[in-house]
C-alpha cells in the first residue's frame, strides 16, 4: 500500500505526474518561500523586531523576491533556450524559406531570390517522392505496430521472470538500444549478404535454396524492418515494463478477487492502465521511425531501385548528392511538417484520454 516505487522504477519519480505540462494546466507558480515566515535567526538582513511591521514588510518583500526569482529563472533558462533556438528553430525556418525560394548556386555560394512554390509542385508531381512518402508511412506503421506487440509481450515475460534474471535481461536489452545504428546496419548487411551471409546460408538449409534478402523489393523492405525491430523493440519493452511495475498492485488483486482470469485481467484492467506509457513509447518511436536515415543509408542505400528510400534519405540525396537545395529543402520541410502534424494530433488524443482517465477514477 505504500507509495514507494518498486525496485527498478526510477528514483526520479517526483510528486508531479508529468501531465502538468499540458498547456493551460500549468503548475501553480511556486513561491520559494513558505507562507509562514521562516525563523529569522540566521538571516543577516531580516527586518525589525516589532511583530506588526515585520509582517507587512515580509509580504512586500515576498513579491519583490518573487520578481527577483522570476528574473533569475529567465537568467537560468535563456542560455539553454538560446542555443536550441539558434541551432534548431532558426534552421527549420530557414529550411522552409529555402523550400519556397529560387535557389541559385554559383561558385561563390548560393542565393535565395523570389518566392515560388515550384519545389512543392515538383514534389507532388514526382513519382519518387510519392513513393518515399508512402514507403515511410507504411514502414512506420508496420514497424511500430510490430514493436509495440513484441515489446509488450517481452515486458510481460520479464515481469513474470522477476529477480536477478530480469536484471540481466534488461541489461541485454539495453545493448541494441545503445548501439550505433550504423554498426547494427553493417552487422545486418553482413548477415544478409547474398554470398556469405549467415542468414542466407541458414535459409538455404531450411528452404533448400538461398533467399536473396536485399536483392528484391519486398524481401529488402522486410529485411530492413527486421533489422530495425531488432534494435528498437527493447526500448519499447523497457518502457512498458517500467509502466507495468508502476501499476498499483491492489487493482490487479481486486480483479483477481472478482474472479477475472489472467486474460481478462490483462485486457480489461492492466492494458487500459498502461495506456499512457504505451502512448508515449509509441509517440517516440513513430517520430524516430518517420525520420529513419542511418539504416537504409548503410543497409540498402535506398535500393533495390528506390524500394527502401525513406523521406529523410531522399531529402539528403537530393540536397547533398544532386545539390538541388530547393527541392531538397521542400522534401525536408514537408517531412518536418508531417511529423509536427502527427505529433500534435497524437498529443491531442493522448491528452484527451489522460483527462478521461483522471475524471473517470
Amino acid at each position: 500500500m505504500s507509495d514507494e516505487p518498486p525496485e527498478e522504477v526510477p528514483s526520479a519519480a517526483g510528486e508531479d505526474d508529468g501531465h502538468t505540462v499540458a498547456p493551460g494546466r500549468a503548475r501553480r507558480p511556486l513561491a520559494p518561500i513558505h507562507d509562514e515566515p521562516p525563523p529569522p535567526v540566521t538571516s543577516p538582513h531580516r527586518p525589525g523586531d516589532e511583530p506588526g511591521r515585520g509582517r507587512r514588510h515580509l509580504t512586500s518583500q515576498r513579491s519583490v523576491l518573487e520578481r527577483r526569482f522570476a528574473r533569475l529563472g529567465w537568467a537560468f533558462t535563456w542560455p539553454a533556450l538560446l542555443i536550441v533556438l539558434a541551432v534548431t528553430l532558426f534552421p527549420i525556418a530557414f529550411s522552409v524559406a529555402m523550400s519556397l525560394s529560387n535557389v541559385t548556386v554559383s561558385a561563390d555560394g548560393f542565393r535565395l531570390s523570389g518566392l515560388t512554390s515550384d519545389h512543392y509542385t515538383l514534389l507532388l508531381r514526382s513519382e519518387r517522392w510519392r513513393h518515399a512518402l508512402l514507403f515511410t508511412i507504411l514502414y512506420t506503421i508496420g514497424t511500430v505496430l510490430t514493436e509495440l506487440i513484441l515489446g509488450t509481450l517481452i515486458a510481460l515475460v520479464l515481469e513474470r521472470l522477476g529477480g536477478a534474471g530480469r536484471g540481466w535481461m534488461m541489461a541485454l536489452l539495453l545493448l541494441p538500444w545503445a548501439m550505433i545504428t550504423v554498426v547494427s546496419a553493417q552487422l545486418w548487411a553482413y548477415m544478409y549478404n547474398g554470398v556469405y551471409g549467415i542468414l542466407t546460408s541458414m535459409s538455404d538449409s531450411v528452404a533448400g535454396e538461398p533467399v536473396q534478402f536485399l536483392g528484391t523489393r519486398m524481401p529488402a523492405i522486410l529485411s530492413m524492418a527486421v533489422a530495425d525491430i531488432w534494435k528498437t523493440t527493447p526500448f519499447v519493452a523497457i518502457i512498458v515494463l517500467a509502466g507495468l511495475m508502476m501499476l498499483p498492485r491492489d487493482v490487479i488483486e481486486a480483479a483477481k478477487v472478482d474472479g477475472a482470469d489472467a486474460w481478462t485481467a490483462f485486457w480489461r484492467v492492466r492494458l487500459p492502465l498502461l495506456r499512457p506509457a504505451l502512448v508515449i513509447a509509441v509517440l517516440f518511436r513513430i517520430l524516430q521511425a518517420f525520420g529513419i536515415f542511418d539504416l537504409p543509408f548503410v543497409l540498402t542505400g535506398g535500393g533495390p531501385g528506390d524500394a527502401t528510400e525513406s523521406l529523410a534519405l531522399l531529402g539528403w540525396q537530393v540536397m547533398f548528392t544532386n545539390l538541388d537545395f530547393g527541392p531538397g529543402a521542400a522534401v525536408a520541410a514537408s517531412t518536418a511538417a508531417l511529423v509536427l502534424c502527427g505529433c500534435l494530433l497524437f498529443m491531442r488524443v493522448f491528452k484527451a484520454r489522460v483527462g478521461e482517465e483522471e475524471t473517470g477514477t
Binding site: 522504477v9 526510477p10 526520479a12 517526483g14 505526474d17 508529468g18 505540462v21 498547456p23 494546466r25 500549468a26 520559494p32 518561500i33 521562516p38 538571516s43 522570476a70 529563472g73 533558462t77 539553454a80 536550441v84 534548431t88 528553430l89 532558426f90 534552421p91 530557414f94 517481452i154 520479464l158 521472470l161 535481461m169 541489461a171 539495453l174 545493448l175 538500444w177 545503445a178 548501439m179 550505433i180 545504428t181 550504423v182 547494427s184 546496419a185 553493417q186 553482413y190 554470398v195 556469405y196 538455404d204 531488432w230 517500467a242 508502476m246 506509457a277 508515449i280 517516440f284 525520420g291 536515415f293 543509408f297 523521406l311 529523410a312 539528403w316 547533398f320 511529423v339 509536427l340 505529433c343
Partner: protein
Amino acid sequence: MNRIRLTWTHAAALVIAAFVAAPLYWMAVSSLKGVDEIGANPPTLWPEKITFDNYKQAFVDNNFGTYLLNSVLVSVVATAIVLSLSAFAGYALARLPLRGKAPIMVALLMISLFPTIALAAPLFLLMRDIGWLNSYQGLILVYTALNVPFAVWILRNFFLGIPKEMEEVAWVDGASPVRTVWSVILPQARPGMFTAAIFTFTACWTEFLIGLTLNTADRFRTMPVGLALFGSQFTIPYGTIFAAAMVSVLPIALLVLVFRRAVVSGLTAGAVKG
C-alpha cells in the same frame, strides 16, 4: 501448475535472450576471423583460427583510431556543455516562478523529437559560411543544441522530486543563486545528472546524419561516419568494420550495463513521466 508456468516463463526469456544476443555474438565472432574465413560459405560458427588482424587493420593501418578520438572528444565536450546548461534551465523550470513554463516544456519535447533531416541543409550552409565545416566546434555546437531539450526534461522531472527545504534555507541564508544551485541542489540531483549524462553521451556517440553532413573530411570523421563510409562500392571489408565496431560498442556497453538503473530511470523519466 506453478512449476510449469515458471518454466514456460524461463523458456520464453531464453528465446528472447537468444534473439537479442545472436547478432551481437555474430559481430564479436566475425571480428576475430581471418579474411578468408569471414567470406566463407557456409560460415563457421566459431573461428577456426582466432586472429586480431582485423583490429590491427582498423586501428593501425586505417584511421579508426582517429575516428574514435574524434567521437570521444565531441561527445564528452557536448555532454559537459549540455549538462551545465540543462541543470540551470531544468532547475528554473522546476522551481522558479516563470511564466510560460508549460509551453516551453512542450516545445522542448517536440524539438527533441524533430527529424534532423530538416536541419541538415541550413546547418551545412551556416557552418560553411562561418568556416566551421570539418571542425570540432561545429559538431559540438549542434550536438549540444540537439540534446539540451531532453536533458532539461529529465532534470526538471528530477528536481521536482527533491524536497524543497534545503534550498529554502540556502536562499534565506542569503546564498547567491548560482551558489545555491551549485552546492545545495546539484549534489542532491546527482542521479538525475548522471542519467542525463548517459543519455546525452549515447545520443552524441551514435548520431550519424549531422556528422555525415558537417564533417566528411577524413581527419574529422566521427566513428559512425567512418564506419558507414569505409570500404568501396564493391568490397566491404567486414572484418575491419566489425573490429572497429566492437571497440566503439564496448565503452558504451559497459557504461550502460554498469549504470543500467540510471538508464532505465531516464527512459521512464522521458517517456512514462513525460
